[in-house]
Amino acid sequence: MNWQAVILSLELAASVAGILLVAGLPIAYWVTFSKWRWKFLVEAIIAVPLVLPPTVLGYYILAGLGPRNLPGKLWQSWFGHTLPFTFGGLLVASLLYSLPFAVQPFSAGFENVDRKVIEASWTLGASRLETFFRVILPLSAVGVISGAVLSFAHTIGEFGVVLMVGGNIPGVTRTISIDIYDQVQAGNYVAANRTSLLLLLFSFLVLSVIYGTNRRVMNVWRRR
């Protein structure tokens, strides 16, 4: 087992889940409660990674954010290097890629909170922020936890973008899924099998926990 790759994947997934937990909550709040008529466009943008081939994102990161293009040049002048072949690059790609896996369960959780309870909190003088942290968040904890766990798990399973922009650097961009690919290509089926089995069990465990906790939250497209 390539523990370096396992640890790298865990680090990446934990960073993604952590950042999306912070950044995803306000987005999900807005998506749930906004009455803006063009809101569906924002929802579509957030959901795009669900259907977008990883190659598209990989291509844009490699070509668009490469040092020959303006966005890439800007990035380079701010951070001193371009995105491909770095942990930061994988992080940016994974954040984009896992966004719907966090925001949609968050949003589904918020929607399940009884509107009357929220309004009661407001009329009793609590601010919107206070209402969010003391009423909405506790009542939608299952959705929030599901979103964090799903984005974590989805990042562990990411492959296409990492293959395209990672450059396969041990300890930096060689994640567990890339390691399995390498093992298969090199004909080390025993090693590939061991790592694959671990990932299979992990994925099954994660989904079992989520379905077991609340099956309704998984239905991210549900609308009342």
Binding site: K35, R37, L62, P67, P84, G167, D182, V184, A186
Partner: protein
Amino acid sequence: MNRSGKLNFRTLGLLSAVLLAMSVPLEIAATGYPVQSPAPGSCGTLTIAAAADLSEVMNTIAADFRAKTGCVVRLSTGSSGNFLSQIENGAPFDLFFSADFAYPKKLESEGLAVAGSTYLYAIGKIVLWVRNDSRLDVSKGLEALRDPAIQQLAIANPQHAPYGRAAEQALRNAGVYDALKDRLVLGENISQAAQFVESGNANAGILALSSALSGELKKKGHYSVIPQNLYSPLDQGAVIMRSSKNPQAAEKFLASLQSPETRELLAQYGFALPPLGAN
């Protein structure tokens, strides 16, 4: 549903109607594309797996072959190691053009390829390649890589790509491997390594001469050939699969590689050629 919800649905409906309308001309264009129908007296379809260094030259060879014989050729290109494991797991190829000699031999010994059919079709060369806007002086050879400005050097993955192995070997023999090993970025195959440098994301790359001589790379950069004594010869072998449904066409294709035109073409793409009758 509230009022704004209904509005959204109407807008969405409009949007999908527009998208649908846009997709119609595309579909017509797609059917207008020349369909690969076999010529009269055809020999059916030949499915070929070819190492990534062959991508461009193989397209030409396949087109010539089709014009001469009427065989339809379906070409897949990628990492030789990947094809090896796909074939070991039942991939339906008729012919496999590896970037090395060991993989075809392995398939023979495993009984997956026709015994004794491995054919030495070309000998690959590696080059140090940079973009034209690079300040690196490639004429100094691999010594040029001692330049601290090199942040990333792209090579193919030595674990399963023969060109990656040759690159690593050359770096070691030139005595620069240890200095560079933390700055290597590994392409899944030699074409991806090429694309890492071509896009400017890596500063330099050790690529196949055949890649350096094709398409975009030819326009965008320059190279110096890495001396042959720094790495073991990249003998490249092709084999016919035992599971091939069309072994006659496969044999015909291998035989066509002996023709002067094809040999000339391979030479143009930077391959050294085994003497005629070496196989």
